[in-house]
């Protein structure tokens, strides 16, 4: 579904990703872990199409297309969704209005009829129940004045509404208390199917107690330095990132 080959990218002349190789197939859940500054968020932003990052080398194929050639809006319409680490506040834009515009943009891309207000509300009510979101939030401006937990749950609500085939979650667990974390993880687990895939980027092993990955990768200094099964996450938790960084330094 997603095939990243030797991806090198940076910002303003600074190299951040120094050759990433990663293949994700339908039905799989991958986790990427790594210390601060290892390039986790850059990878997420490059996949979503952030123009501030320059791709110097490498390729990303998504469902047989060159992902890097697609505009950000086309990527999500084609099913690649990014849940932001820091969801952006947009004062004055009503959340419900925004969500309907997003859903209809994706529907239109697939030749489906736009949902009217009534049908959309029905769909949204279904999804907010899943995420235990307060319906009052949907009358407010996008993310404005939301708590940290509300913002992250709102991201997962968007994911549920847009029903992506490849979801990238950028530190969706950061800053969440354990109850909010369970709600978010439960939401993500319910969206998992045999024909879609998830890439979970996280700083903490904790999230992986609730979302069980098929593969865990450790990102350090712009490279994946270690890959393994879910047990790798536990090993990391026990030994800390020093285990990897020191090991890396020794082999370097």
């Amino acid at each position: 579904m997603l095939e990243i080959k030797n991806l090198k990218a940076g910002v303003e002349g600074r190299d951040i990703l120094k050759g990433i190789d990663l293949t994700i197939n339908a039905g799989e859940v991958h986790a990427i872990m790594g210390p601060n500054g290892s390039g986790k968020s850059t990878l997420a932003q490059v996949l979503a199409g952030r123009e501030a990052f320059n791709v110097a080398e490498g390729s990303v194929m998504y469902k047989g297309q060159d992902l890097l050639e697609l505009a950000p809006e086309v990527r999500v319409r084609e099913g690649l969704f990014l849940a932001f680490q820091y969801p952006v506040e947009i004062p004055g834009v009503n959340t419900t209005y925004f969500l309907r515009a997003a859903v209809n943009a994706v529907r239109e891309h697939h030749g489906e009829a736009a949902l009217n207000a009534v049908d959309f509300l029905k769909l949204m009510r279904e999804k907010i129940e899943l995420l235990q979101l307060d319906e009052a939030l949907l009358k407010r401006s996008v993310n404005e004045g939301f708590s940290g937990g509300e913002k992250k749950r709102a991201e997962i609500l968007q994911m549920a509404l847009l029903d992506p085939t490849m979801a990238v979650l950028d530190e969706t667990d950061s800053g969440l208390d354990i109850d909010a974390l369970k709600v978010v993880a439960n939401g993500v687990n319910q969206l998992k199917r045999a024909d879609n895939a998830q890439l979970i980027i996280t700083h903490y092993q904790r999230l992986l107690d609730y979302i069980v990955p098929d593969f865990v990768h450790v990102l350090y200094d712009g490279r994946i330095v270690k890959s393994g099964g879910k047990e790798l996450a536990h090993e990391l938790e026990e030994k800390g990132y020093d285990w990897i960084t020191n090991g890396e330094l020794q082999t370097a």
Partner: protein, 409 residues
Amino acid sequence: MVSPANNAADRLLAALPTRGESGARFAALGFPTTRDEDWRFTNVMPIAELEFTSAAADAAANLEGCVFSGIDGPQLVFVNGHFSGKLSRVGELPAGVEIGNLAAAACEPCEAEDAFGALNTASFTDGACVRVADGVCFESPIRVYFLSTGDDGATANIRNHITLGANSKATILESWTGADAAYFNNVITELSVGDNALLEHVKFQNESMSAFHVAGLHATMGRDSRVAHHSIALGGRIARNNIRARLDGTGIEAILNGLYLPRGKQLIDHHMVVDHLQPHCDSHEYFNGILDDHARAVFHGRIHVHKGADKTDAKQTNKNLLLSDNATVNTKPQLEIYADDVKCTHGATIGQMNAEQIFYLRTRGLDEEAARRMIMHAFAGEIIARIGCIPAREELDRLVWDQLEGAES
């Protein structure tokens, strides 16, 4: 030596009928210059250079294309500063409500009169007069139309008096439009709002792009009264609103809410002074501007919290969105606080379209154009949403939207 500005004042007075001492005061003060702190960013020389004439009485006009036409209720119409009995419709009014024209009765000079105020007192021809008696709630919005038929230099001085008694309620919708000419409207509106009274005042200023508009709004408010003033400013080559609110009673709430959308070479200026004289009053200034082309805007918001005005809650925000590299904003939020126990905040932003917001919307499937529109609409909508009169709000939302769509294409 006679400065050009003073000379202009004399020429203007010679063109107009005048009364009382105020003419002499205007002549002495002359047109303000940019050396005057209150006019630092707004150069009125283009007004002073006009070849002044007295705006024509009895000019033919109609309300075609004017806003608020679908709203029922009394309507007053002034053409070039003169009352139009033909176009005005007041109808039956309940006891305690008077709606009409001020006529050319002598008026007290306004407090701390500046040059334009003195000119207005000396030369106003007419204006709206609305009185709502104690305890009367008048639910129908009162529409007041000001039409200018044009001619370069045609000058009209207009004086409005709006007086609400204690425990009363009213909604006033003003519309300013005119033919494509460099006419000059100089306006003073006196608002007197009694104890526990409620006033919503919407001013839709859509003068000709060549016209000049200088307007003073003086609000005096009684205890526990609430005033919401909404200034939607689209027109005028130079448009200046001087808003003065005196909160001289406890428990007052004053909301000054404004949206300006200058383009071309327009300059739109809001100059506010809010005086908190008593405890437990709230005042909020919310002004958003979207500027295109070579347009300029000025926001001057001064909140003066006097000694003893404890528990004041004052907030000023001014946000500006620049669609062009050549647009300019001068913003000056200002707090002067002499009381101890207050909550005051102020802030101003000037920026281009926020790239992070656009990217976020794009990652949710909206194309760049749709994302830009959504953000721009939101920016304007934030202000318009505060208008309580629903039909007026909906119509202004559409109008503003149409203008912004034009700006983008």
